[in-house]
């Protein structure tokens, strides 16, 4: 059994139960109505109860004797996962919303892609820098000109947009 995956499963099962409880409790604050005239809380209430029951059973299995069987059902874990890259990509995706508006599209996209490139396969940083610059500029020209997507623009973007035709 893969210990790390088992730990992740335990945390995930707890998170699912917490989500279910929060959802269930919140749904009971809504008006349930009657069967004749169901209120906005009826279906969420039913879903909430079922969620608590199912995630409870799942938690019991994960922490109980069923845990070994659950581990057998899953895909075998790969050796030597690149956790640095996984966390880095997630961090880039999570931070991107906060830097996009202030830094505008090209700088923020370049920063995100540079970090990802360096994390995935550190090569000479100048190569990664040029590649990320190319990706940011290319993406801006393709998406704003070709698809007409409205992307946050500053001086650089306005200059490129004119330059791009």
């Amino acid at each position: 059994m893969n210990g790390k995956n088992q730990d992740i499963r335990k945390i995930a099962s707890l998170a699912l139960l917490v989500f279910s409880l929060l959802y269930g409790l919140s749904s009971f604050r809504l008006k349930m109505g009657t069967l004749r005239s169901p209120g906005p809380g009826l279906i969420p209430g039913v879903i909430g109860v079922l969620l608590v029951v199912c995630t409870g059973i799942y938690l019991f299995r994960v922490f109980g004797k069923g845990s070994e069987r659950l581990a057998e059902e899953e895909k075998p874990a790969r050796e030597g996962k690149n956790y640095r890259a996984i966390i880095g990509i997630l961090a880039c995706t999570a931070l991107f919303p906060f830097i996009l508006e202030p830094l505008k599209f090209i700088v923020s996209t370049m920063a995100a892609s540079l970090v990802m490139l360096l994390l995935l396969k550190p090569t000479r940083w100048i190569f990664s820098f040029l590649l990320s610059l190319g990706m940011a500029v290319g993406a801006f020209l393709i998406f704003s000109r070709f698809f007409g997507v409205g992307l946050p623009s500053g001086f650089l973007e306005n200059f490129l947009f004119r330059f791009g035709g």
Binding site: N5, I8, R36, Y58, I89, L117, F143
Partner: protein, 497 residues
């Protein structure tokens, strides 16, 4: 018949417009590329491109997605045959005998049989789609909320049974998906549900960031776990593409059997193209005069499953067009696209927007033709895409996902949702959860809730009033059988003697 012929001709007139031909070609190429790349299947491609279809009209978007879906099926089989790498799940079976044929120097024949089989299957399934969707939509016009509730519930139950993995885990995913579907302002009473005072959440959890996160970002995270893979790519010469007459004789009947089987399986909820390939492989082996050749390079084992997976694509469109209910995650993407364009699929759409329906049907023919013309001569080019290092490809996919999500509402919340659901999708996959039921339930959930509440209003709160209607009862019985039959089979096997 006259209605079908008229509709198809009208559809061809639209689909042959240069802009739609371009979308069809673009979809076929993008689909083939995503099919070739392991991991990034049609779902990933559709989720990534979903937002960009906003710059097109609904017909163009549908044509693009149909091209991607068919193209991915073609592309997936190419790498299965040449490299023993299934580009997507429906091509796993093709690896078994396709790669063995390639090792024997018959890669060209396997590729041609796969392409011709896919073309024949595509054509048969499109014919089936036209007839079945028209027939079903006429009936569906007489359906009330009770019937739609029954279809939605039974679809989800069948999905749990057929999507593989643990029933409990699939059920949890369905409930989480339905819970997400309840977020936002209640359509009947205007009450805010689970919005935490956020105006943006008042419109509900957007389908796009959830789908892109769970299928796009999570796929990237799963892919970067693996070590860099550098395949040794073998070249296929054009003159090697022609099968021998004996190979044709063995494969053509298998193509037709696979087509019919695949179309029927495509109508059922769940990962129909994958199931269709396995069922086709097993049935071909059973009826073969040379079953001992299976696993060693039998051409029927390539022709049948390849036809079956393409035919299942056409089958999967039937419930979406006729009933407005997606039974597969890819169809949920198609539904999402239609809704982004302000359209609600279902029997009424087929009547009111018949030009869209027929244009999509016609473009499927055209797309299939394009694929066969493009893919065989360009097979070496498509396979060489595997040479692009993933450390470049993966950041590109992440950037495209982020731009895609941002482009719809220019919303920071949507971008955050993308990151959150990317993480959730990755964790869920890592611990063995199937994420497809979550997406489907998120789409079908609101429809189920609406139908149930309308039904209860109509029947005055009587549950029997909408359970014991002929169509509903038949559907509930059918869904129950999927649990009862395996239970009985297990008891029979356990019984002594």
């Amino acid at each position: 018949m006259l209605e079908i012929a008229q509709g198809l001709l009208g559809g061809l007139a639209i689909a042959l417009k240069p802009i739609y031909l371009y979308y069809s070609l673009l979809g076929a190429i993008l689909g083939t590329i995503t099919g070739v790349l392991p991991g990034l299947g049609p779902l990933g491609a559709m989720s990534i491109l979903l937002s960009f279809t906003l710059s097109m009209d609904a017909t163009g978007a549908m044509i693009l997605f149909a091209g991607i879906y068919y193209g991915a099926m073609y592309g997936g089989s190419t790498t299965s045959i040449l490299l023993n790498i299934p580009g997507e799940a429906a091509s796993v079976v093709t690896c078994i005998d396709g790669y063995k044929m390639a090792q024997r120097g018959r890669a060209g024949a396997a590729l041609t049989v796969s392409a011709v089989g896919s073309f024949i299957a595509g054509t048969i399934s499109i014919l089936g789609l036209m007839v079945a969707a028209l027939f079903l939509s006429d009936i569906a016009l007489r359906f009330g909320p009770a019937e739609f509730f029954a279809i939605g519930v039974c679809g989800l139950i069948l999905l749990v049974r057929l999507s593989g993995g643990s029933i409990l885990q699939s059920f949890i995913m369905i409930l989480v998906g339905m819970a997400l579907g309840t977020v936002g302002v209640d359509f009947l009473t205007g009450t805010e549900r689970f919005t935490f005072g956020s105006v943006e959440l008042g419109q509900g959890v957007d389908f796009l960031p959830v789908a892109m996160g769970i299928f796009g970002i999570a796929e990237v995270l799963t892919t970067v776990e693996e070590k860099e893979f550098k395949p040794s790519i073998q070249k296929v010469k054009l003159r090697e593409l022609f099968p021998t007459s004996q190979e044709w004789r063995r494969s053509i009947p298998a193509m037709f059997r696979g087509s019919f089987l695949g179309f029927l399986i495509g109508l059922v909820p769940g990962p129909s193209p994958v199931i269709a390939t396995f069922v086709s492989y097993i049935s071909e082996k059973r009826i073969s005069k040379n079953p001992e050749e299976f696993g060693k390079g039998a051409i029927e084992a390539v022709a049948g499953p390849e036809a079956a997976n393409n035919a299942a694509v056409g089958g999967a469109y039937v419930p979406l067009f006729a009933l407005g209910i997606p039974f597969t995650p890819a169809m949920a993407m198609v539904l999402g696209t239609l809704m982004l364009h302000g359209l609600t699929p279902g029997p009424n759409l087929m009547k009111e927007k018949s030009d869209l329906f027929w244009a999509v049907i016609a473009s499927m023919y055209i797309g299939n033709f394009m694929l066969i013309v493009l893919n065989l001569p360009l097979v070496n080019l498509f396979v060489s895409i595997l040479r692009v290092p993933k450390n470049i490809l993966m950041p590109v996919i992440v950037i495209v996902c982020m731009i895609g999500v941002y482009s719809v509402n220019s919303s920071r919340l949507d971008l955050l949702m993308l990151a959150i659901f990317g993480f959730i999708g990755y964790i869920l996959r890592a611990i063995g959860f199937q994420v497809a039921p979550l997406i489907l339930a998120m789409v079908i959930g609101p429809m189920i809730e609406t139908s149930l509440r309308q039904s209860l209003n109509i029947t005055g709160g009587s549950l029997g009033g909408f359970i014991f209607r002929p169509i509903c009862l038949s559907l509930y019985l059918l869904a129950s059988l999927t649990f009862v039959i395996p239970f009985i089979m297990r008891q029979i096997k356990k019984a002594p003697g």
